[in-house]
Amino acid sequence: MQLQLSRAQVDSDWKREVERRLGRKLADCYQCGKCTAGCPVSYEMFHPIHAMMRLAQLGRKDEALRSRSQWVCVACETCSTRCPKDAEPARLMTILREMAQEEGCVNANERDIYDFHTSFLASVRRFGRVYEMGLVAAYKLKSPLRRGPQDMLTALKMARRGKPGLFPHRIQNVAAIRRIYERTRLQAQAAARAESSPEPHGESH
């Protein structure tokens, strides 16, 4: 990774906020690369996990938040488990996913992954449990032409085995779940900045 370094691009306030959420200093990471070596999806990333740590260390907020890497991360926790400095790279990825939503700059190229997460959580909000059939329908309807035909044969095979069920399981106290969602909604920060972003679609579920 080659970076042009200039003081103008270092966002120190943002870096401090990352460190606050991380609960440790970003400087703990000495860039050994062990996280990337063990990452099962590093082959999918322009900025693999150690490079994301580096971007954070250098306060490169925009590049970090707009990256695709945090969305391709499978959250397997291998990086954090093996990190010799307990720098918690997996937690950094979680923080970047939350911040990207708060700032309205979720990378548009990873729309499939993001839509699946939001469709899943919308299903839980509605019923208290996941309703697989409804989740799949909602996900496909957000981009029907492209996602519609995907996995039709698999769906047929599943149907012959009685999966997934046709009807949702609704819990009794769905109202409590709705209130949990309301109270933990991610706060959209700096609305003005989000407006100027080229692809503002980081609405929270």
């Binding site: 099962p40 999806v41 082959y43 391709v72 499978v74 959250a75 397997c76 926790e77 291998t78 954090s80 488990t81 997996a90 979680t94 996913r97 939350e98 939503q101 499939d112 992954i113 993001y114 839509d115 699946f116 997460h117 939001t118 899943f120 959580l121 839980v124 208290g128 449990r129 996941v130 309703y131 697989e132 799949v136 996900y139 995907q150 996995d151 698999t154 095979k157 599943m158 012959r160 085995r161 009685g162 999966k163 997934p164 069920g165 009807f167 949702p168 399981h169 819990i171 009794q172 106290n173 409590a176 779940i177 209130r179 949990i180 969602y181 109270r183 933990t184 991610l186 929270s204 579920h205």
Partner: protein, 306 residues
């Protein structure tokens, strides 16, 4: 023995992991456990919650833990490791951080005294391995199996606090007790792609293909798993994964749940363990495990066999 039970969405409502729910309830029942379901439990948030909103996920799980605690469940079995890990993570975080406990209690409108410990199925059986030994020792033939744990049975280590992070052996040892021959292999805890099965199937095919290739290299004839996502990816996407790994079109490796293996060792009928609803046909393997001659496949499986 009565134990708290958190089935989770995948094991209930004829969802993708229905075999795991059916077989867990049947096998543990046969072993003498009474499963007491958490009243009005909600989804743990799974990958989607973990990936996009930690405060939401923590509160959803504090609600579950508080409900379990109020019902007197000091130990809470969550056979799905996604649920187990999210529950254990919430339990661990609020126990360590009083501020997170206070915030989550307020959001979830529940009081939690950190008195309900989540367990995976492997951990429960490991804790009662003497019972497994008494009831199921050497009941199965010497079939070579690859015990696949996936990510979350051992990670994050400070949360799951169970077995070796890189090379766990507890599920292997349980299978060995029952008479199976677990192979030594390399990919016990490599990720299968988990929740990307719809949103990024190419990643799942690549990761799962590597796991299939590693199991074949080690000489395994079947997988034993304890996670509905691992099962879905290894079983339902085996064709794509085998193609990605260049394993040939006739690659065929049945994927059984640990609870199904235990059920067979306890003498339960295959139908009681839902062994006929997997994508990769299990008929021949199940016949061998039960010490029978191979029988004809069921109509659904026969029509889909190539």
């Amino acid at each position: 023995m009565e134990i708290g039970y958190f089935p989770g969405c995948a094991l209930k409502a004829h969802a993708t992991g229905l075999e795991y729910g059916i077989s867990t309830e049947a096998a543990l029942g046969a072993l003498g456990f009474t499963l007491k379901e958490v009243p009005d439990w909600n989804c743990c948030g799974a990958s989607a919650g973990h990936m996009t909103n930690t405060a939401l996920t923590r509160a959803l799980n504090v609600r579950n833990l508080a409900l379990a605690e109020a019902a007197g469940m000091s130990e809470l079995l969550a056979p799905c490791p996604l649920c187990a890990k999210e529950l254990a993570l919430a339990h661990h975080e609020v126990k360590e951080h009083p501020d997170l406990l206070a915030a989550s209690q307020e959001v979830a409108e529940m009081v939690y005294r950190c008195g309900s410990r989540p367990l995976t199925l492997i951990e429960l059986l490991w804790n009662h391995r003497q019972l497994v030994r008494e009831r199921a020792a050497a009941k199965l033939p010497d079939v070579k199996v690859a015990c696949y744990y996936g990510c979350l049975h051992t990670r994050p280590p400070e949360v799951m606090n169970f077995d070796d992070t890189e090379q766990p052996t507890t599920m292997d040892e349980l299978c060995r007790i029952m008479g199976l021959v677990p192979v030594e292999w390399t990919h016990k805890t490599e990720c299968c792609g988990a929740g990307f099965t719809m949103s990024r199937p190419t990643v799942v095919a690549r990761l799962t293909g590597r796991i299939l290739a590693a199991a074949r290299r080690a000489g395994a004839e079947a997988f034993v798993v304890a996670c509905p996502m691992c099962h879905a990816n290894l079983d339902m996407r085996q064709g794509e994964a085998a193609a990605d790994a260049g394993l040939g079109e006739d690659f065929h490796m049945p994927v059984l749940y640990l609870a199904q293996v235990l059920g067979l060792a306890l003498g339960l009928k295959p139908e009681a363990l839902s062994l006929g609803t997997h994508f990769v046909d299990t008929t021949d393997l199940v016949a061998r495990l039960r010490g029978e001659q191979p029988v004809a496949a069921t109509p659904v499986e026969a029509s889909e066999r190539k």
